[in-house]
Amino acid sequence: MNVTRRQFVKGGVGAFTVTFAAPGFLNDLALAQGGRVRNLVVLYLSGGNDALSMLVPYNDPFYYSRRPTLAVPAGSVLQVGADSSRAALGLHPRLTGLKQVFDQGKLALIQRTGYENQSRSHFQGTDIWATADPRNPSGFGWVGRYLDSLPSPIDPLIGWNTTRDLPRVLQSAHTPVSAIPSAAGYAFASPNGGAEAAAERAAAVRINSHVPVDRPELAFVYGSARAALATLDRVATVASYGGTVAYPGSGLGQALKAVSGAMVRSIGTRVFYVTTGGFDTHSAQNTNAANGSYFGLMATLDDALFAFYSDLRNQGLLDDTLLITFSEFGRRITENGSQGTDHGAATVMMAMGGRVNGGLYGTAASLAPDPANPTLENSAGDIRFETDFRSVYAQVIDQWLGADSRSILNGDFRKAGLGFI
């Protein structure tokens, strides 16, 4: 029997259409009331950042004995003083821009962040940092849960993810977050021009306003298309943003330039997610040579962050912006046989912005390879956490986003002495 799809077309099951809130509504209201906006940028250093190469305990003799080829010489670190345990610390020599930000009091370095029984898996570890839930890391992200706590309707541009897929940090129960890897490529194409193209776009908008109530998976994909179509024109205004400083051509540099452009053009976005990879340095980590692998990671990071910082300062947006970094774990203290480091535990987090109370937070570990050393774990192989990473999130949620960390993090992780913002 020949059957065609005309006969196969389904009857109109329950369906409704949706529209979004006026763009930038919340933003305009806040500005009209004389308020300042608060932007949050979350930067993920993918692969497990080697904290000991970024913030170097250059007076610890075990740092040198356990890392014969990877240790950064004491003479080359950029000294940032001593922490409350009197451990002298220095930034990696390539972090010259961040050193300036530190000296201006706008960079906080939070040592030994992590959690109990820290996962050494990239994937489980990343999910734990993203959900802030070591026991059940398959749920929604901590930023996603914050977005869900905002009053609706929520603008689909409230969040801007600079990667193509939605990272778990931003996954939420009902708040769409736009994925915009490149503002310039974020456009609706048509095989035709002129009136035909306009009719096609209008049809696409109407088709995607459809929400099939009985098929959540379809509703989800429709929602992605709908949010894209609803925000294209605002995103297009960012594509032309040139910046007040030259941004590096790296993926991170270009992503941060778009973030700055979105803030300058006031398109309504409040939460940004940015990532840079390559931190899984199992071999040839090469911390010291100018063409070395870890040296290059620091160059990429420093050049992009310093351009972003300078641009925000020039645009008068520094006080409106907080950037924080995370990575799934730190790395093993003792270097391995291939001049690299394997997966470890606690790591360092950074917070940067105009309202940041810069400086050193927490204390450095002693790297003495004694199984009884309380600052280490795993038979003194790895650095043990001192500050639960959720305490850092709690500070951001309570003091910057103005929400209640106890409900978003499902527990009270507030910690005294962690007033970096």
């Binding site: 020949n2 799809r5 049809a203 088709i207 298309a225 394997d342």
Partner: protein
């Protein structure tokens, strides 16, 4: 042209292949379900002649700046794989190769940094009959074993040059064991996270000490390819203890061995991993998502059944996949269009549905990257995050925009083939829905589509009108949410 609706065969070919070309539909429609599954799974009976079709008229095109070099140029390697997905008459072999590529996810970018772009392409993609050193790239190895034995596959992967660089096995030495491969073979390639302890990772790293890389022939001749070597003097000869059974009698310790016999450690561990019920279930869960459904939880009964087939057949994948494709759950109406298509599935299916003559697969590479999938370069060793993770505003725009590019490219052919159905917007829509083999669309959507056909002037069905409207309509349909499901 009238299309015959055959939802079951279309479903089978969307899952066991990349959609259906008209000639494929004809071939498989002539078979019973079991016959169609037998034809797919016993693909050795079908000639492996797809590469000979490259550059011939009637097939999709390629774009090269220099002589076509799929064994040393990653762009050409990607084009050749897309060509095979589109034109191979062994669709399941290509589909399983993609499954294993995602399972043993190895990334070109890191290798290109360690070796060189040409060498990285070679160790990922070279076909031995075309390589001066007869190098078999990782994906060719996976293709050769696409329905082979999983235990043998693990051994081949552990000795694969690209893998030895990707997870740093080349530097795994006695004094300083390298944990990267030891961890991922447990976490991602076999048992899955939660089924082993951190101490097992350290023991696995020691098991594979000395599994390194050297020049073929054992010398220092740099013109010889890089191959797996067992460096006995870099092998840790002490015993290794695990929290799970690793010997045939159920013991948990691999005994101390003389260095010269140390390679047996790795074989012992791989034998134990392949035989583990945790591995069987881990693979079965992945197969459920890849072949049956992305919706809801994995069916535990199905997972146990498939895991049992895997163990009963001593890790042979062919009977496992046959069981998958013949399972009631696979054919269930609820499983049809229940998977979020991977970007390459979407692109190849669109080419099969919309047309390929005069299109170059090179023009699919940037769109695929924007959709989140670069072949030969998964984001990390866990492979691509599939299911709903493929979808975001940016990736959905990339899919819609690819549909636009392809529809514009096929403009005249699409308009001509629609000529006989152009009497009314409704008849045209029915024709295009059939050609694209879409799932049922809600009436709200079909009514928007006919409104679009009427939007810019009276309907005449003239060639000029069809040349504008048919590509526009194809673009809109291939860009619907429904079309993103396979």
């Amino acid at each position: 042209m009238a299309y015959t609706l055959d939802p079951q065969i279309e479903h089978l070919l969307r899952r066991a292949g990349f959609g259906a070309r008209p000639d494929e539909l004809d071939t498989y429609r002539a078979e019973s379900f079991t016959g169609a599954v037998a034809l797919l799974t016993n693909y050795e009976r079908v000639p492996d002649d797809v590469d000979a079709k490259i550059g011939q008229p009637g097939y999709v095109g390629m774009t090269t700046r220099a002589p076509f070099a799929p064994n040393s140029n990653i762009v050409d390697a990607r084009q050749r794989w897309l060509f095979r997905m589109l034109h191979s008459n062994r669709p399941l072999q290509e589909k399983m190769t993609l499954f294993w590529h995602n399972h043993f996810a190895t990334g070109y970018t890191k290798l290109a940094g360690q070796l060189s772009p040409a060498e990285a392409t070679r160790y990922m993609a070279a076909r031995p009959s075309e390589d001066p050193g007869r190098v078999r790239g990782q994906i060719e190895m996976l293709r050769d074993n696409a329905l082979g034995n999983f235990r043998d596959l693990l051994v081949s992967v552990a000795k694969d040059t690209a893998m030895l660089y990707w997870l740093d096995g080349y530097a795994n030495t006695r004094a300083r064991p390298q944990e990267n491969f030891g961890r991922e073979i447990l976490e991602l390639f076999s048992m899955g996270v939660g089924h082993y302890a951190e101490s097992d990772v350290y023991a696995a790293a020691r098991v594979f000490t000395g599994w390194n890389v050297g020049r073929q022939g054992g010398g220092a001749d740099r013109s010889q390819p890089l191959v797996f070597v067992f460096n006995a003097n870099q092998h840790d000869t002490l015993a290794k203890s695990f929290t799970f059974p690793v010997t045939r009698d159920g013991g948990k310790t691999i005994p101390a061995r003389a260095a010269a016999e140390g390679m047996q450690d790795g074989i012992d561990l791989i034998d134990a991993l392949a035989a583990s019920p945790d591995t069987a279930r881990y693979l079965a869960r992945k197969l459920y998502r890849f072949f049956v459904s992305d919706l809801g939880a994995e069916d535990d009964g199905w997972v146990d059944r498939i895991a049992r087939v895997y163990l009963d057949n001593r890790y042979e994948m062919r009977p496992v996949i046959r069981e998958v494709l013949l399972s009631r759950e696979f054919w269930d109406a609820r499983s049809q269009f229940a998977r979020y298509s991977w970007p390459v599935e979407f692109v190849i299916r669109a080419l099969k549905d919309i047309g390929w003559t005069g299109f170059s697969v090179n023009d699919a590479l940037v769109p695929l990257s924007n959709m989140g999938q670069n072949l030969y370069d998964p984001p990390d060793v866990a492979g691509w995050e599939s299911g709903p993770s493929w979808f975001s505003t940016g990736s959905m725009l990339a899919r819609m925009n690819f549909a636009s590019t392809l529809a514009a490219n096929q403009r005249f052919r699409l308009a001509a083939s629609a000529g006989a159905a152009a009497a009314t917007p409704e008849s045209l829509l029915s024709h295009v829905l059939d050609a694209l083999k879409t799932p049922p669309l809600d009436r709200v959507i079909t009514s928007e589509l006919t409104s679009y056909l009427r939007a810019t002037g009276a309907w005449t069905g003239s060639p000029a009108q069809l040349q504008a409207k048919v590509p526009g309509l194809v673009h809109l349909i291939a860009g619907t949410a429904e079309y993103q499901f396979v």
